[in-house]
Amino acid sequence: MKFHRFPHLVQREICSLLHPFDLVLLSFCSDRTRRAVKKANKNRKHEIWVSGIKWYMSYSFREMNNFKRSFSVYWNGPQVCRSKFYIKIDGTDVGICERFRQGEIYLEDCSHSLSMHKYICNLFNVPEEIYVKSNQLECELQSVKRSYLWNSDSEFTLDDLERFYRYHPDQEFSEVSGKLALGYDHYNENVFVVRNLISRGTIRSIWRSFKLFKGENAYCEDTYMSLFQIKYAMEEWMKRKDDGLKSMIFKPKEEYDVEKTRKKVKEISCGNERKQEVYPYKSM
């Protein structure tokens, strides 16, 4: 069964039936196979999101709001990784252990995890930038471009979030889903420093959203709304000059009675642009 003798369409068909982990292993076979896999993956529409730390990166494929966990890349150390082979990534020989467990790839050298990330992104024709999906805010990975933070068991603290966004300052997009531990003594400002933000149930009050967000567009779901808060937030925003804010959209909690606030509004837009398209998540 000579794989390379199949027409391209058939190769693409076979690749579409293979699990991403098997595709990565297939690509390790030779440079020609890697090119065939890459070509077969050309029309796939998804993003690669990673979670973990430098010596353990777990890969998920994202299509719209669905994440499919696919495989992990570990650092195994030169002692354990005795039988290995090398692939060249950007002129660097990256050692990979011969032994694989289902869904696990082991690297010889910890410092090669980012090279491997680049290799994987290249193979699946997605941007090399790091998109992080994590429920832990202590993320060691550098140059994060997008983040998806969720917390179902505990609460985020503003200090942790502030540290996370300071550590990854050039993010173009961040989605936060989960509760925020908010004491009355907190007066943090500009915590969510990111160009585009989606908050799902994290920032509950409108005026606090203005205080905490520093970026261009924000969409905040499950916010508490009162006429007083809306007016206060608008006044605060009018005072600001050149803060770069383009739009903030608030979607109130479901039981919110729109009629009671006199104005018949479901979404309130401040600024020159209405960003209706921010929700649901859409690749930008």
């Binding site: 369409l9 076979i14 293979l18 030779s30 440079d31």
Partner: protein, 201 residues
């Protein structure tokens, strides 16, 4: 009027005109002939278009020579038409874009594809050539299943994948076969280099 009270009418079944099924004749490249029903042909986009374009009547089918399929041998074509007859009338699947694509191999297909790799290769090739979407799906699924749980070294053996060095050597050989003078020039160049010549030209 209720259904129970409706008048009973005896129907003479023989008097009802029965639409005659049309069977097309195809011939493989090793001159084996096959008769395939019109409905089964619909599984193949290529053949369906071909017979539509030909516009054969029942008489034409019998009187004219069998339609030649020059790229496929009899053994493979037999499997293809067996598959088409078994799945005739079934809807042709549409790719929903899921990754990895979800395809299940029915029992009949699994038995049909219980063949050696060489014939399976020909079957896939034929399914692609005749554009039989579901046959291509299941046959490729069988090939994809061979990769499950395999290491790169095992994959090389299963899919007969040459290493980078072997690919490079094959590429060189192909180039040389295309231009036999290239090897002579290269040898001459090496010889002159050994002799300490500064310039080849």
């Amino acid at each position: 009027m209720s259904v129970e009270n409706a008048p009973v009418v005896d129907v003479d079944e023989a008097a009802i005109p029965v639409e005659k099924k049309m069977y097309y004749r195809f011939e493989s490249n090793d001159k084996k002939e096959f008769r395939v029903s019109e409905l089964a042909i619909q599984q193949s986009e290529t053949l369906n278009r071909l017979v539509e374009a030909m516009g054969y009547t029942s008489e034409d089918v019998e009187n004219k020579p069998a339609i030649a399929i020059e790229n496929i041998d009899g053994k493979t074509l037999k499997l293809v038409f067996q598959w088409c007859e078994h799945h005739k009338g079934e809807a042709i699947p549409v790719d929903d874009g899921s990754v990895p694509k979800i395809v299940e191999i029915p029992e009949f297909d699994a038995k049909l594809m219980d063949i050696d790799n060489g014939l399976l290769f020909k079957l896939i090739w034929a399914a692609d050539y005749l554009n039989i979407v579901q046959l291509l799906n299941v046959s490729c699924k069988k090939v994809a299943n061979m990769a499950q749980g395999k290491t790169p070294a095992q994959l090389r053996r299963v899919y007969l994948l040459p290493s980078d060095e072997e690919d490079e050597a094959a590429k060189r050989a192909a180039q040389e076969a295309q231009d036999p003078r290239a090897r002579e020039v290269e040898e001459e160049f090496e010889e002159r280099k050994r002799q300490g010549g500064n310039s080849f030209f």
